[in-house]
């Protein structure tokens, strides 16, 4: 049957033209097209990779920032604590010093008061003694104004004195 019998002429034409076209297309079409597609894919892949890298870098940077912030916060907390401690210490010291000073002053005051009081008492005692002497002198002066009285007194005194 004619349908399944290949025509030699057509076989020859087809072979020659196909091989020529294959060669031409390979050289001028497929080669450049495949090369350019490959290059484009490579560049896209590269771009994607670099984007990924940039993202990773960003993340690293962010983590770094967070770390720095955390460190700064810690540092601040530490400094605050130190300041607070120092303040407490200073205040405490001042308080104790003031107390000490006050106690000292109080003691001095107390002593002064005591001394003053003693001096006053002594003075008072002296005055009372003086007064008593004065009073006694006055009384004596009056009592011994008469001679009889003097002899009586002498007699009394002589009575007490026993000559042994």
């Amino acid at each position: 049957m004619g349908l399944v019998m290949p025509d030699i002429g057509l076989v020859i034409w087809m072979s020659i033209t196909f091989l020529i076209v294959l060669f031409l297309l390979k050289k001028f079409a497929w080669g450049p097209i495949l090369k350019m597609i490959h290059e484009r894919e490579a560049s896209i892949e590269e771009a994607l990779k670099s984007a990924e890298r940039a993202k990773a870098e960003m993340q690293a940077l962010q983590a770094d920032n967070e770390r720095i912030i955390a460190e700064a916060r810690q540092e601040r907390d530490r400094m605050m604590k130190e300041a607070r401690d120092m303040k407490d210490a200073i205040v405490g010291e001042a308080k104790s010093k003031a107390k000490e000073e006050a106690d000292k002053m109080l003691a001095i005051a107390r002593e002064t008061i005591h001394n003053e009081k003693m001096a006053a008492i002594t003075d008072l005692k002296n005055q009372v003694a003086q007064l008593s002497i004065d009073v006694a002198e006055k009384i004596l002066k009056r009592e011994l104004a008469a001679e009889s009285k003097q002899k009586e007194l002498l007699g009394d005194l002589m009575k007490d004195v026993k000559l042994n």
Binding site: G2, L3, V4, M5, P6, D7, I8, G9, L10, V11, I12, W13, M14, S15, T17, F18, L19, I20, V21, L22, L24, L25, K26, F28, A29, W30, G31, P32, I33, L34, M36, I37, E39, R40, S43
Partner: protein, 393 residues
């Protein structure tokens, strides 16, 4: 995403190709009706040629799917094509218009060339005796017909189209390196990437690059030829990929590339399948050797048969109109059947659009698989490669 893009492109392509043809779907009918009625009129007038008295669908269909020395455009208008024959006395070159019989408008005239006289018999050029008109079988046997036939013209047009399309696409790539495809590029690129990734890389493996030019050329040639074969009017309609000479050449080139690239592993598997006892090899080796040729043979037959069958079915549905119309005597029946025929033909046409792509795909895929088997390395290497591949992802 790539698949989606491809699918969209394909759908668009189908639409773009389909719409104008549906508009022309009636054309072959009109042409055939005119031709058929002319035939019957002529037959009635002459009253001698009995085989043309009735509508002969088988003859008509075979006429349409076979190669021709002229291009029938419409009615009695033929595009004459150059006839080149090599005889035992030398070459002859003349126009096929010399075969036109100006009385009957058929291509049955005898042309007297330099060396012999020729005429067409069943579309083939035969040497005849000038006086008696009897065939000179001895001279015919030595005749080599190198004519630029309808199929040769179509092949040249297709190759011209391919060179134009793909070289301009290549230029577009070089003009806009690294940028997204545009225009024609974006039509072609999904196919190229599809063939590279899903056919070549998947079937051949890491050595795919070497085979890409052939795979792409063969894919686009078959695809374009199939689509052009579906166009019912000039410059379409030639049954290129449904011609066994064409598929023979394509499958032979596939065979040759496979054999050239066959490595030790490939030949060892053919002549001495590893791990098979010697007495089995006595049976297996001939089968394997036969298989080398059987595979491209099947490739040849598959493409030829699929495309021819598509053309035959479409033409058969059209023939139904004239069979039922009974040579214009039963117009109502003809019209009634034509509705069904057109519906079926449109359905077949859509099928054929799918087949056009599918057959191009299948031919390219199977070629790629044969190349893959030729360059395949040891299996454990393959596994190692697979693992590396999987790990890379």
């Amino acid at each position: 995403m790539r698949y989606n893009a491809l699918r969209t492109r394909l759908a668009l392509l189908l639409m773009a190709v389909l719409v104008p043809f549906l508009a022309h779907a009636y054309d072959p009918d009109a042409v055939q009706a005119q031709k058929s009625s002319n035939d019957s009129l002529a037959a009635a007038a002459h009253g001698t040629e009995t085989h043309k008295a009735g509508f002969d669908p088988g003859h008509m269909i075979m006429d349409h799917i076979a190669d021709a020395h002229d291009w029938h455009l419409w009615g009695h208008t033929h595009l004459p094509l150059p006839v080149i024959v090599k005889t035992d006395k030398g070459f002859e070159l003349f126009s096929s218009s010399h075969f036109i019989n100006h009385e009957t408008h058929h291509l049955d005239a005898v042309y007297k060339g330099t060396h012999y006289s020729y005429k067409l018999a069943e579309g083939k050029i035969v040497v005849v005796d000038e006086v008696t008109g009897m065939e000179n079988e001895e001279a015919t046997h030595q005749l080599l017909d190198l004519s630029i036939t309808k199929n040769v013209v179509t092949i040249l047009m297709l190759f011209g189209l391919m060179l134009f399309v793909f070289i301009s696409v290549a230029k577009a790539y070089q003009k806009r390196p690294g940028q997204a495809p545009k225009g024609l590029q974006s039509w072609v690129e999904p196919f190229i990437i599809f063939i590279r990734d899903d056919l070549a890389k998947a079937s051949i493996g890491p050595k795919y690059a070497k085979f890409m030019p052939y795979l792409l050329t063969v894919f686009f040639f078959i695809f374009f030829a199939n689509l052009l074969g579906l166009v019912p009017i000039f410059p379409g309609g030639a049954n290129v990929t449904g011609n066994i000479a064409v598929t023979l050449v394509l499958s032979t080139i596939t065979l040759i590339i496979t054999l050239i690239n066959g490595n030790g592993h490939y030949w060892r598997h053919i002549f001495a399948m590893p791990g098979v006892p010697a007495f089995v090899l006595i049976i297996l080796t001939p089968i394997e050797i036969l298989g080398i040729f059987l595979r491209p043979f099947v490739l040849m037959i598959r493409l030829f048969a699929n495309i021819s069958a598509g053309h035959i079915i479409a033409l058969a549905f059209y023939s139904l109109i004239f069979i039922f119309g009974n040579e214009g005597q039963n117009v109502a029946a003809g019209l009634g059947v034509s509705v069904v025929s057109i519906a079926f033909t449109v359905f077949m046409f859509v099928m054929e659009l799918l087949v056009a792509f599918l057959q191009a795909y299948v031919f390219t895929l199977l070629s790629a698989i044969y190349f893959g088997s030729a360059v395949e390395e040891h299996h454990h290497d393959d596994h190692a490669h697979d693992h590396a591949h999987a790990a890379a992802h």
